[in-house]
Symmetry: C2
């Protein structure tokens, strides 16, 4: 079966992306599957640049089709923070809980609602063939964590139109409304068409 | 009908691209059709960068989907010249004939065959959604012009597997083997899928 690398070690992301592509005849392998040990420096200034940097580096190493993303939370009252630093908001090796705490501390002095969006840049990379698509979901940040599913800021984020956080929503629902779903869905037609 | 801008004023290119997409329900309009008077500075270092620069500038101005390309001839014995400078090899406002003459002069001191390829970077641009794909056709440069169709270096370029120049080949044949066909064909699935 055709194999594609998803340039991530985040098992939560890997699972989401496999779920999105489960109707395609593709084996999506992760960086853990290929035992990738390197460190990729995400030196870009945008989600898209960072996603492309990851994808290009992995393509150069393994020479098979790569998909990648860079995602994060963009909070209005914080002028877009944590943005591309979402995963390392409280430091290079910060855990989700530490990032969430930092976010709540920063938001303490602001009135509710804390409008925010989850943003994702999804990319496809195959040498000179490249594709990039955005996806987002809007919502609010609440003042304490709720729910145990998902990862990242999911326990703090309630998408518009729902009364549950991303960490409380049923998996099938989260994965039809998420920023990552919106972005990666646009990749599907490319994955379908590139069959060589 | 859905309208897309092809960011070019080159009527030869416009015709080729319309031919490639003639099975899609799309109206492809050119920069002449929108009466675009500006000058786009192709300041990139690669075909892809130049194509993206053109597409982004036109998208910013008209806010509808844009396709664009940057194409050129890459000659082995000339270390890749004329490359991204193909259209202005003999000067900013050079005519095809002047560019061709300059090429032949440069190649005089080299033995045949003069291996070359036509390269095309085709791009799709819709804000944060971007796509870029390469296309190429390999062949040789001959020592005098033959044929009156096409444009650019077509009268000097014989694609591998044929004994006619691009300017002698039947239109339907040229447009199934050309660099531009190869690149823009990859765009078709994106144009098909983006229906909003």
């Amino acid at each position: 079966m055709r194999r594609i690398i998803f340039a991530s070690k985040n098992e939560g992301k890997v699972e989401e992306v496999r779920y999105i592509f489960n109707d395609l005849k593709l084996e999506i392998i992760s960086l853990s599957d290929v035992d990738f040990k390197g460190e990729i420096i995400e030196s870009g200034n945008t989600f898209e640049e960072n996603a492309m940097i990851k994808a290009a580096e992995i393509y150069d190493k393994y020479k098979i089709e790569v998909i990648a993303d860079d995602s994060g939370l963009v909070v209005e009252q914080l002028n877009g923070e944590p943005g591309i630093y979402s995963a390392r908001y409280a430091g290079s090796f910060a855990k989700d809980r530490e990032n969430n705490e930092k976010l709540l501390n920063k938001l303490k002095s602001f009135p509710e609602p804390h409008r925010a969006k989850y943003f994702c840049a999804a990319v496809y990379f195959k040498g000179k063939e490249k594709y990039s698509a955005p996806g987002e979901v809007e919502g609010v940040i609440i003042n304490e964590e709720r729910g145990s599913m998902g990862f990242g800021y999911d326990p703090l984020f309630i998408p518009d139109g729902y009364d549950k956080t991303m960490a409380e929503l049923e998996y099938g629902i989260k994965n039809k409304i998420s920023h990552r779903y919106n972005a990666f869905s646009k990749l599907k037609n490319i994955l379908r068409s590139n069959t060589d």
